[in-house]
């Protein structure tokens, strides 16, 4: 039952893309919808928060460095409008929930603190590109959003969002009329929005219900830089179907973190790394 929303969203998007296709048919604009699946190795890390647990004495007053690694199975939908060497691409990807755990072993605890997190990843992008070099390459700009969320069973909730403009280019080589091998690289200048709600009393201080302080809560904004690069192989399956297989690596680095509570000690740096292997199917009208 938990996949019903994604199915509904996919159905709505497919309906929209079909409407777009019908409209494009009426003009000289061609439209190529696509669907993709991918396996993405996701790794999140944030540096240790020195002194963040000063009132608790846990872990020498420091909240340790956190890493969160999962492999998402991701479903993607998108479509591209082509017109006279230009294209406008819309894409959305969403992964299924995956789990990982956080363990903090400290002598103050009777047993290690373990919290299991479950989260997912969503990405959307809109890209405007132009074919260059006799259709052998493209340059493009675009706007993208990305969001990684995870909720722990000990009451913690994490949310890392980034959004902003990107610019990039790719280049391809036709390989003996059977397909095209291409490389892609892009850079993004993003704004980050980092939230960590740590409600577990273990990390809280205070004497009464109204005097609880959660020192590990983060509600911060930051700058973020994104880098994406990859390699792809595309070939036709039939007169209307094509496929591509690609391997892409993406990295988002958050710095200049500023929490809304100046007293909050946050990590100096947050980082997300994604490595995907994606299979896409294109329908060419």
């Amino acid at each position: 039952m938990k996949h019903i929303p994604y199915f509904t969203a996919s159905l709505l998007m497919a309906t929209s893309l079909f409407a777009v296709f019908e409209s494009a048919q009426a003009s000289d604009i061609s439209f190529t919808p696509r669907a993709s699946i991918s396996l993405t190795s996701y790794k999140f890390s944030q540096t240790a928060r020195v002194g963040a647990l000063a009132n608790t004495g846990i872990n020498g007053n420091d909240f340790p460095e956190i890493t969160f690694e999962v492999t998402f199975k991701t479903l993607g939908l998108g479509g591209t409008f082509f017109k006279d060497g230009y294209y406008l691409d819309l894409s959305a990807q969403k992964s299924a929930d995956e789990e990982d755990s956080f363990t903090l072993d400290d002598p103050l605890f009777s047993q290690p603190f373990v919290e299991n997190f479950k989260g997912d990843r969503q990405d959307t992008a809109i890209t405007l590109g132009k074919k260059i070099l006799d259709n052998k390459g493209t340059v493009y700009i675009g706007y993208k959003t990305g969001k990684s969320e995870a909720s722990g069973d000990q009451g913690q909730h994490l949310s890392f969002k980034e959004k902003g403009f990107f610019v990039g280019a790719n280049y391809g080589w036709a390989v003996s009329n059977s397909g095209k091998l291409s490389v892609n690289i892009a850079f993004a200048n993003l704004n980050g929005d980092l939230t960590e709600d740590v409600t577990n009393p273990l990390f809280a201080t205070g004497t009464g219900p109204n005097d609880i302080v959660a020192p590990l809560d983060i509600n911060a904004t930051s700058d973020a830089q994104g880098l994406s690069y990859g390699v792809s192989w595309a070939s036709r399956l039939s007169s209307n179907l094509s496929y591509s297989v690609s391997i892409d690596a993406k990295k988002y680095t958050f710095d200049n973190v500023k929490d809304s509570n100046p007293a909050t000690i946050t990590s100096k740096e947050f980082e997300e790394q994604l490595l995907s292997a994606m299979l896409s199917i294109y329908f060419q009208f």
Binding site: Y87, K144, S242
Partner: protein, 691 residues
Amino acid sequence: MNIPGYQLGREISIGEYCSVYNALEIESSKTVTIKFFQPQLSSNPEFCRHVNTTSQLLLNKSIGNIISIKKAEWDPESCYLITDYFPCAQNQQPLQTEFTIDEVLNFGLQLANSLSKLHALGLVHGGVSTSNLVFPNLSQVTLGIVSFQRTFKQDSSVPALPVSMHEASYIAPEFATGLDARSDFYSLGVVLFELLFRKKPFIAGDIQQLQIKKEQMQYQVPDAFSKRLNPLFDKLLAADPDQRINNASDYIEVIEQCGYKIDNSSSYSEDFSTSTEQDSIHSPSTGKRHNKNIIIFSAAAGLLMIVILSFFMFGNQPIDEKTKSTRIGAIPSSEVDLTTLNNSENITPIAQTENKDKANELYQKSLQHISQNNYGAALMTINNALKEHPGHADALKIKVEIEHEFEIRAYLSRAEKLLQAGKLTRPENDNAFHTYTQLTSLLPDGDTRAREGMEKIAGKYYRLANDLVLKKQFDNARQYITTGLSVIADYEPLKQLDLYIRQEEAKQLALEEQEQQHQQKLKADRINRQKAAAQELQRQQQFIEKNKLAALEREQALKIQQQKELQKNIQLQQKRRKIDDLLSNARNLLRPDQLSHQSLNSSLEIHNELTTLTQQDSRVSNLFEQIINSYSVLARNQKEIPNLAEALTTIDLGLALDRNNTNLRNLKNDIQQLISEAENKQQEVPFIGTF
């Protein structure tokens, strides 16, 4: 100047306002006086109207002792009056007669009565002065006509009339503000003063001083005896008009106040032997002059007729130096004792000798008058001579001659009058020619006056004839010439004119003959032309007949031709109809919504059929172009489907018909490119880049 009915005579005088002439009234043979107003007045219509209006009131009326106006004329050239003979002339000669107070007062009464009558007509005289008086005798005075120039109400358009010192002496002081009846009595006062004392009451160096004296009444009766008359002159010369006498009754009353008796029942006092209808005045001191007056009056009565006759006939001054006349200025200071004229029976031998000498002297003088063509004076003189010596044979003879001359002149006058009236030779016995003919028997040998008169008649006929000659009315002109020549047979101008007419008629006759010959020639030419025209007409008629036959043949040929053309047209119309049908079918087949290879093939077949039916019909060539275009249209439709292969086939079919058709070739290139692109697209894989 010529005044119909009057023969202008001697000029009497020329004044500032008018010129006065004697004239003979032809009809009555009376002497009259004509007064011509100067141009400055006669050119003023208002003045002339004033003269005319005033004259109408006075025309042929006896206004007391004021001279009668016989006629007033006003024409664009002049304005003049004709009055009874009145020899005054605005002269300013000094008075030569001494009058007694009674005589002067009597004159004053006559003048006052006359002025009162004039004033009763609403008129003012304005010209009462001694120079405007004539004294037929010592008991009667005649006043000249009204002074029109002075009674004329001036306005700005008429310049002010000049006033001389002489005139100013008689004019009332209110002259500047206007004259009225009282002003005449003022002038009467001046006149009476002057008649009595032989000088004017006011004497000054200029008009302004004179006016001052008038206004201040600075006059003085010169002798003590006459001071009795002071009340009279005070009343007549009063500066204030309201204080002045203004009618005859007042005048009589004042005179009686002065101690003089007025007798209105008779003209003269009881001492006078004769009486007139005029008033008279006498005083105890007037008796010494009465006898003299009786003698003068009775003697003058006889001579007056002769003098007047002389005036009437010749318009000359009738006053002889030795004739007793009371004309002021003409009366000699020494009076002639005319009583001797009435007592010739008692003449002594010495006296007879003296009379004979005097008669001879008068006879010679008469001859002198005759030599001067003054027959009136001559008759008067010869009569005087005969009175001196009734048996004077030469005088008697001369008198007969003078009377004969008068008779001749009567004829001449009558003839001239008839001539002027245009009665040249008709009516019978009352025409100028007849009169001159009668006159001829009266004239002595060598007297050419009748001849001259007849020449006038002939001359008039000549002018009449000449006018007609100028108008080429020769027959009528000849009548005048004939009549003129009957008056004077040898009147050269008429004969010359007659000769001229004859010459002109001869010329005209010659011209007419020439014209006749010319007409005859023209007639002959016309006949010849008519003959030639008839021949030409006949030839043309033959030609027309021939042409008619030819036209008939052409008409028949034309009908056959028309029938053939009709059949041809019918066939042509059928063919056209068929062509139209075929074209219509082809166009239906080529409608864009029905285009197909089959419809194109069918339309091609129609085109081929039309090609055989027509030759160079633009519609067929247009149809072909339409077919080719339809291939393009069909190919485009197929391209849009897209059915590129079918479209390519269609284009190839079209190019098979017109390999050079640019549209099809371009379209083929497009489709081939599309096919190539489609093929390439089939090979193409999606190739985009994104983050």
